[in-house]
């Protein structure tokens, strides 16, 4: 047994005086070639159509099978007919381009809607699988999914079939065929493993095996020649054999049947049951990837609603799943937003972009003041049950919680609420600021400091915003909020802060858009620079509107158990509501003299999106900088408005340019490829020519001339030996010269002795002159 040799094998040389003729033309070969391409076209059709149908059927959509399969079959037929000649090949490319343009213009709504139907249905399947809710969908302009899915499937199927056809006939590249046809189906394979094994999947399997066998056999390269054989390194090789091609179909079916039976046996013997623990363990990651998308991969850390305990700058785009994180049972007491806090940031670390947390909320004095007010008949005392259903393991407290009265559920160190646990807190709702009078006036230096690195940035901003040191706190808060609202739009897709840049500096000076963490972090430093102690907080902010949408009244719970004291709402009851990552929020607390820490939320309301297309219009907006996404999901927990992200903003500038470049490259790639191919073959020829001896050069030169002629002139292609060819090519040449040329060619081809310089020069000269004469004669006769 020998391993395949790595070195280049030496060519075999037939005995001197023996020539194996490859130019021999068998009349059957042309028909064989046509049949061969037809067989491959059928395989391509089955592969492409089954791949598309597998997906459409897998996600539960329906379409017109007759129209779909009929169109793809027609395309395969046209391709197999046209590819028989290079002119036909070019013609069919132009034809399909025209068809696509025509269809793209006239059926754009149907195709567009079909695309979104597929996308929306896929999203539905995935959300069902991961038990998600509130996922974004796209608007389908045309409601009739049967028509739109058919149109879309045909559009995609035709493109796929064209690409796969070229892959199969030129290189039988089963790897690329596999990749192109299986990748979209990975979704349904992941979701249900195609356990029902539809017919389309079986056909796909058989066709993939067939193409792999064709590739293994080595005789796959499409060749338009009508000669029976082609020259190889060692001799000659046949071109096509339709019987073997057909037999490989049979072989593919045999392999499929045997594989199927083996799989059944394994299943019966419980060797394999279709389940995969690894897959189960990947589900959270896949879910995350689905939710976050590609952008999420770029996010440097997991973040709930874009927040992660004071870490800043790593979120490219906030992705929200809408799943409950906390379950809150309490009695509403005002229309104000309910803030549940879990993080307080004291020190800001510039460039590293994080807040150093402080577990000490430093608000017990305020709690005591409120307690005192309550006892004196003002204020209120309330109970809140907070259950951690999906949030990070941290401590969650509403404002002015009496930490001495937190019961149940909390971890032993009192610093976290474990997942699934419920804490019961007693807190003192702030009905009026007057109820909270404290003696302390200084929260400590930690809440005044602005790092030197960004002091100038903050100062410049204050100047621009008209904020001055010594301003009244309320005035400063209002002014800042207004300034942000006007000049720093809210977005869930601000883009990650570039590495090495400071989060606040990047936001204030360059990016000028962001979500709550941006505003809160900047505002804290701004207030501090104005002399107002401030601190950064994270947690959940549940607005009245949010409660109104998803709260449930808990009639079996006693109001008195949950609330006593003043209630600004005329009627209230114990409710249970949830806080999700849509409610995750970051805000500012400022220290008011005599009152302590109070909420000062400066995050602006998001602007409302107004219609616009879907994916395609988003794509256009990427390129032109306009347009917006029609987003049906509810976002954000900002007290007033919902926020929607504007995808345009994520891609402005260099990214759009790159996208344009990529699109241009993709469109131009066929032309580039053709150009490179002919350039490469020309360079290869010239190198071989330069390295060859005189005999080989003459033969190469002659072959090059005749090859070109043979492709264009069918009559010439029937001339198989030098004599006939020279007579055809150079009828005007003197017969002695023609005979001499023939003898020289024979000598160059067969004799081991090689040509003399004189013979070589003469022959090359004759071939060159005669060529020019022929072209000149041809052009003259054309003119005539």
């Amino acid at each position: 047994m020998a391993l395949g040799k790595r070195k280049k094998e030496q060519p075999l040389v037939p005995s001197p005086g023996v020539t194996v003729i490859t130019a021999y033309r068998d009349t059957r070969t042309e028909k064989k070639g046509n049949t061969d391409i037809m067989i491959k076209a059928i395989a391509v059709f089955l592969l492409s159509a089954s791949s598309i149908y597998m997906y459409i059927d897998g996600i539960g959509l329906s379409m017109s099978l007759v129209v779909f399969f009929g169109t793809l079959a027609a395309e395969a037929l046209i391709l197999s007919l046209c590819y028989r000649s290079s002119k036909g090949e070019n013609l069919v490319a132009l034809l399909f381009l025209a068809v696509f343009v025509f269809a793209g213009i006239n059926f754009r709504y149907e195709i567009n809607s079909g695309f979104y139907a597929v996308v929306n249905t896929t999203i539905d399947r995935i959300t069902d699988f991961f038990e998600l809710s509130g996922m974004r969908t796209y608007t389908e302009r045309v409601a009739n999914r049967y028509v739109t899915v058919t149109a879309f499937s045909i559009a995609v199927g035709m493109i796929l079939e064209y690409i796969v056809f070229n892959l199969v006939i030129w290189s039988a590249s089963y790897v690329w065929c596999f990749i192109l046809t299986i990748i979209p189906n990975l979704v349904i394979i992941y979701l249900d493993g195609l356990s029902s094994l539809p017919a389309s999947a079986c056909v796909w399997l058989v066709m993939m095996v067939y193409i792999a066998l064709v590739r293994g056999g080595g005789h796959f390269r499409f060749n338009r020649g009508s000669t029976e054989y082609i020259r190889t390194r060692k001799g000659i090789s046949y071109r096509v054999d339709k019987a073997t091609d057909l037999n490989m179909f049979f072989m593919a079916i045999v392999i499929w049947v045997t594989g199927l039976m083996l799989a059944l046996v394994c299943s019966r013997l419980n060797i394999y049951n279709g389940q995969s623990r690894i897959k189960e363990s990947t589900e959270p990651a896949v879910k995350d990837a689905f939710l976050r998308g590609a952008d999420g991969i770029l996010n440097r850390y997991p973040a709930t609603g874009g927040l992660n305990s004071g870490r800043l700058g790593g979120v490219n785009r906030v992705i929200q799943d809408g799943q409950p994180d906390l379950e809150i049972t309490f009695t509403p007491y005002s229309t104000d937003t309910l803030y549940i806090r879990n993080f307080i940031g004291e020190y800001y670390n510039p460039v590293d972009n994080y807040w150093t947390g402080n577990d000490d909320k430093d608000d017990q004095e305020q709690v005591s003041a409120l307690k005192k007010s309550y006892k004196s008949g003002k204020g209120a005392r309330a109970r809140m049950d907070i259950k951690n259903v999906g949030a990070d393991v941290r401590l969650y407290e509403p404002y002015y919680t009496d930490t001495t009265e937190i019961t149940d559920g909390i971890s032993d160190d009192g610093k976290a609420l474990p997942s699934g646990a419920t804490e019961t807190v007693t807190y003192y709702p702030l009905i009026s600021l007057d109820d909270m009078q404290i003696k302390s006036s200084d929260p400590g230096d930690g809440y005044r400091g602005v790092p030197t690195d960004i002091y100038q940035t903050v100062s410049d901003f204050c100047r621009r915003a008209g904020l001055k040191a010594g301003m009244d706190t309320d005035q400063a808060v209002e002014r800042l909020r207004a300034y942000f609202q006007k000049n720093y739009p809210y977005t869930l897709s601000p883009g990650a802060t570039p590495k090495g840049r400071d989060f606040v500096e990047y936001f204030l000076n360059e990016n000028k858009k962001g979500y709550c963490a941006h505003y809160a972090s900047s505002a804290v430093l701004i207030f501090r620079s104005l002399g107002i102690p401030a601190r950064y907080c994270e947690g959940y902010a549940v607005s009245m509107e949010s409660m109104a949408n998803n709260a449930e009244r808990e009639d079996e719970l006693s109001y008195d158990d949950y609330y006593s004291g003043q209630n600004t709402l005329r009627s209230s009851a114990v409710i249970r509501t949830t806080a999700s990552d849509m409610n995750a929020h970051a805000w500012v607390e400022v220290y008011e003299k005599g009152h302590g820490w109070v909420v000062a939320d400066v995050t602006p309301a998001a602007t409302e999106d107004t219609g616009g297309g879907g994916f395609l219009s988003d794509l256009m907006s990427l390129l032109t900088g306009g347009g917006s996404r029609n987003d049906s999901i509810q976002n954000n927990n900002v007290s007033d408005d919902n926020g929607t992200g504007d995808i345009r903003d994520s891609f402005r500038g260099p990214r759009a340019m790159w996208l344009m470049l990529v699109m241009i490259l993709v469109l131009a790639s066929p032309i580039i490829w053709i150009g490179m191919k002919s350039l490469y073959s020309d360079i290869k020829y010239r190198r071989a020519f330069a390295a060859a001896g005189s005999s080989d050069r003459l033969i190469m030169h002659y072959q090059r001339q005749t090859e070109r002629r043979r492709r264009r002139d069918k009559e010439f292609s029937r001339r198989v030996n030098y004599e006939e060819q020279l007579l055809y090519l150079y009828p005007d040449m003197a017969s002695e010269d023609r005979q001499r040329l023939k003898d020289i060619l024979d000598k160059a081809g067969y004799s081991p002795h090689g040509l003399s310089d004189e013979e070589y020069e003469w022959a090359m000269n004759e071939l060159g002159q005669s060529s020019r004469k022929r072209r000149h004669t041809a052009s003259n006769s054309d003119r005539v």
């Binding site: 068998d26 066998l213 293994g216 005789h219 190889t232 090789s237 046949y238 279709g274 897959k279 030996n721």
Partner: protein
């Protein structure tokens, strides 16, 4: 057997990747794909072994002789003997020219399938001689393309390549002068033929008509005159081989053409060439055109040996031959010379 390492590695990789994907994704579809990949190998091995055993190679030539420069179709038919096929069976042909002692190899790749279609390979022979074409072995590729399996076969065919019959020969001063039949001579000259090559004593058995009566009377013993009647004369063509194959071909072609012309003209002709095996000249007489091909076939059946100074060799081996036509090559040109051995 020759394993195609790249394909084998690719196959193993494909199975490994599929197994990994099945482990991650699970599911029936992927598992079946994995099973298909796994069973493909034993199916491949079994079909290859069977094909190796059952396949049969037929080699045929449409003719056993041809002319130089003409196409000859050599047919190959490799029947699988079973339902499965292979895309490639590479038949290695060894082609030997016994006349020049040259040999070489070439490979012809044809498919193997159940029907076994005959594949004709055109060959063109540009040198004369007898070519023995032997199919030594066949390398059959398995279905998956992982290996080439060797099957030893021993099929041979042969073809004799003759020169092209009609050449634009230069005419020589070689017109058989006379070539008359005996009857014609008799008519012409009566009983006394003046062209006598030899006089000798009578030996029992000599023909009475050969008795030289005039001399016999003088010598008082019977004397016989050895006639030089044209009807008894053989035009001898001696071929002188050269080292250079093409020139040798020209010489032999010239001789062939010459002899064909002579035979066509009813000239009794003999062909002679030096045989290294016999260490003597071989002689062939021709009665008709068919004898010419036969003679040259015999010539091609053994290796042509270059001889130096054929004339000296002729004089030493066949001194009785007074004259002949020597066909030889000189300075790259084919020449014919009349050698008069009597001088």
């Amino acid at each position: 057997m020759r394993i195609r390492v790249g394909r084998l590695i690719g196959y193993i990789l494909a199975v490994a990747v599929t197994a990994a994907i099945v482990a991650v994704f699970g599911g029936t579809f992927l598992f079946i794909m994995l099973m298909m990949e796994i069973v493909a190998l034993p199916i491949d091995i079994i079909t290859s072994m069977l094909m190796l055993r059952k396949s049969e190679l037929l080699v045929s030539l449409g003719t056993d002789h041809t002319q130089k420069g003409d196409l000859v179709l050599i047919g190959h038919n490799l029947r699988a003997g079973m339902a499965f096929s292979s895309y490639e069976a590479a038949i290695t042909l060894t082609i030997r020219n016994t006349f020049y002692g040259t040999s070489g190899q070439t490979q012809i790749a044809i498919p193997v399938n159940h029907e076994g279609e005959m594949h004709y390979v055109p060959l063109r022979f540009s040198l004369l001689g007898y070519y023995e074409i032997t199919a030594d072995h066949v390398m059959i590729r398995d279905v998956l393309g992982l290996a080439d399996l060797k099957k030893t076969v021993d099929k041979s065919v042969g073809v004799t390549v003759f020169p092209k019959g009609d050449r634009d020969r230069r005419s020589y001063a070689l017109h058989p002068s006379g070539g008359m039949t005996e009857a014609e001579e008799t008519d012409r000259r009566g009983n006394d033929f003046s062209d006598v090559s030899e006089i000798r004593e009578y030996v029992p058995g000599d023909r009475p008509r050969d008795i030289h009566w005039k001399l016999s009377a003088k010598r008082d013993e019977l004397m016989i005159k050895q006639r030089e009647a044209m009807s008894d004369e053989q035009l001898i063509v001696v071929v002188e081989f050269t080292e250079i194959l093409e020139e040798n071909d020209e010489v032999v072609s010239e001789a062939y053409s010459l002899i064909k012309e002579l035979v066509r003209s009813n000239v009794n002709t003999q062909l002679m060439w030096w045989s290294a095996a016999d260490e003597d000249f071989r002689r062939k007489r021709f009665q008709d055109q068919g004898d010419v091909d036969e003679a040259f076939s015999e010539m091609f059946g053994e290796r042509a040996e270059m001889t130096e100074d054929i004339d000296r060799l002729m004089r030493s081996v066949h001194p009785e031959i007074m004259g002949y036509i020597r066909v030889y090559s000189s300075d790259g040109q084919v020449k014919e010379a009349v050698v008069d051995g009597s001088r």
